[in-house]
Symmetry: C2
Subunit: 340 residues, 2 copies
DNA sequence: GCAAAGATTGTAATCGATTTCATATGCCGA
DNA sequence: TCGGCATATGAAATCGATTACAATCTTTGC
């Protein structure tokens, strides 16, 4: 035990051939006679040889890994996405690295650095808050084609994006509330400067004015996709002289925080106030009340981003710069007609 | 643009020294005169050089990466743990790889393979269901010291373990319910064969008999840590002729599934039935009712496992084979005295 | 003033694979 | 029987770093 792993030379020696032949027997078997191929395979079995990826990657000038930038691994929203990405890379020999950009912010030059130190071949970023400079550096190094944005993106940057139709999601939410009879609808936004915040708020505002619904400034409440911001929004609402009858939240977690605080304040959901979330994370179905929300197909989004990246790594070009995925309204128990 | 990254030779040429000197200037500056060190640094700045990690790792006979085996990335429970692990590795130059053992089960020999193909230097496994064979292979290769179990573990295997005091957690839960006046306490277990299932159930049973509480076989309900299993358990309970007045769930997610279904069935929590969870995931505080549960310090667990692995990778030996972390009872709104 | 010790630096081997180029062999048709 | 071609294989260069060893130049002690 504790013996060093067998190398290609060990195999070559055992099979009485050169290392070149061993390599060929593995990567292009048709270049090798059947007899020697058998001998090589037997030697491999015997020695327990596995090709050393560091060596192979060095020689082949690739890193053999891709990196996922996640704003916060802790959020349940990302887990389904990560699973989808993993699935997408399952058949490849790429290793999947994950970095949390919140707990470990990228230092200046770090992103381009990942490429130039041979650590990664490609990047999937779930973080739309990357520095312009960092992206420019990547573009200058000619690795722009190896970066894919997922869910979030950077405005006016030339990287492929895989995302849900956020504006449509917001419209669906508002329309659903309108159909139930709601006319006074509030919205808890995401963090300022976030592209999703903008997309969802814009969609919400557009639909609200299209339907000629009441509009009050205080009904647009700033949040940040977190439970806490939902709770804070609830406190604001509890103190409003004229309360909305429904709230469209920019994320399910926000809705949970909101509902929890509303109920604690004696306001029932959905009897007194209806609530719609966004994302449809696993919990939403089991919340009390079960949450009406906008579903994003997280697994599919992740998978698609993986496929996109793989294809641009192997074929050099991204097939389509933007893929927008449909969202879906899932009606559960947190919405009902407004109190008359 | 699109130029290949600078190599050590480029730097050497620019600084008019040999590659050896460049390497030394970086790794052991005291071996190099100040003048040349300056020149080298200047050349590095000028060329934008970054050391190629594949090459360095190959030469230094290390992989530069560690692998985390997660049963299911999708579960919110793991996110805090992963963040803790990431933190633990933040100051090192190890890359952190993550694999989901549920969506992509390890093939036979895969674990040992990760080591022998130079892909990883160490492993943190959150999966206690690894095959004995896989572990034996690792031991035979002499890499046993580079595997750390976290939260879960494999019974009778000689690897270091970082985990919470699960039995104590179960005892705390039962004692709390007993203190509130409950005498008929049910338990939804984890999946059969899981070490956590055993630890928590054992602790629960021990405390129950110590306190001389009522015991009925049907009050031990098999689950699997999931929302769905909580829902199923609730359905069983709703049909019991003699219902328990309290339920201790083996995970918060189970508790959510359970409460959601109980309420739908007209049983109020905590007025009719009290519920205690296990884990204290972020959501628990914001559930309705806020969940009484056993807190595990997930971030700290993750961090500790990372530190343990790092230390055994650098110093060769694990300081202490088992570290058991204390748990904590967090009392919220899902528990109350039983209906008289 | 000279040998020994110390400080710097360069040359070349090495890590473990892949791949180019050259060589050896066998088979074919003329 | 011999040139030509396809097939099978090996020798050696290469990827980009680190490091053992050797070489040179300074400094120090007596």
């Amino acid at each position: 035990m504790n013996q060093k792993p067998a190398t290609i030379s060990d195999v070559a020696r055992a099979a009485r051939v050169s290392t070149a032949t061993v390599s060929r027997a593995l990567s292009s078997p048709n270049l090798v006679s059947e007899r020697t191929r058998e001998a090589v395979l037997e030697a491999i079995r015997h020695t327990g040889y596995r090709v050393n990826l560091a060596a192979r990657n060095l020689r082949m000038q690739r890193a053999g890994a891709i990196l996922i930038l996640v704003p916060n691994i802790g959020k349940p929203f990302y887990s389904g996405i990560l699973a989808g990405i993993s699935d997408g890379f399952a058949e490849t020999d790429y290793a999947v690295l994950i970095t949390d950009t919140e707990s470990q912010p990228l230092k200046s030059g770090a992103l381009a650095g990942f490429f130039s130190d041979g650590r990664v071949d490609g990047v999937i970023s779930l973080d739309g808050g990357l520095h312009r400079n960092a992206l420019r550096q990547c573009a200058e190094q000619g690795v722009a084609g190896r970066i894919v944005f997922l869910c979030e993106w950077v405005e006016a940057a030339e990287f492929p994006v895989v995302a849900s139709d956020n504006a449509e999601g917001a419209r669906l939410a508002i329309r659903h509330l309108h159909d139930l009879g709601h006319r006074k609808i509030a919205h808890v936004t995401g963090p300022e400067g976030n592209v999703l915040t903008v997309a969802r708020r814009t969609g919400m505002l557009a639909e609200r004015s299209r339907l000629r619904l009441a509009a009050r400034d205080e009904w647009i409440i700033r949040g940040d996709f977190s439970l806490e911001s939902g709770r804070d929004a609830a406190e604001r609402i509890l103190q409003m002289p004229e309360r909305p009858t429904a709230v469209f939240c920019s994320a399910d977690m926000v809705a949970f925080g909101l509902i929890s605080r509303l109920q604690a304040g004696g306001v029932r959901v959905p009897e007194d106030i209806s609530v719609v979330g966004f994302d449809d994370i696993e919990m939403s179905e089991y919340y009390v009340p079960a949450l009406t929300t906008i579903r994003q197909d997280r697994h599919r989004l992740g998978r698609r981003a993986a496929e996109l990246l793989i294809s641009s790594l192997t074929h050099g070009a991204a097939p389509d710069p933007v893929s927008m995925f449909p969202v879906q309204l899932v009606i559960r128990d947190s919405t009902a007609p407004p109190p008359h």
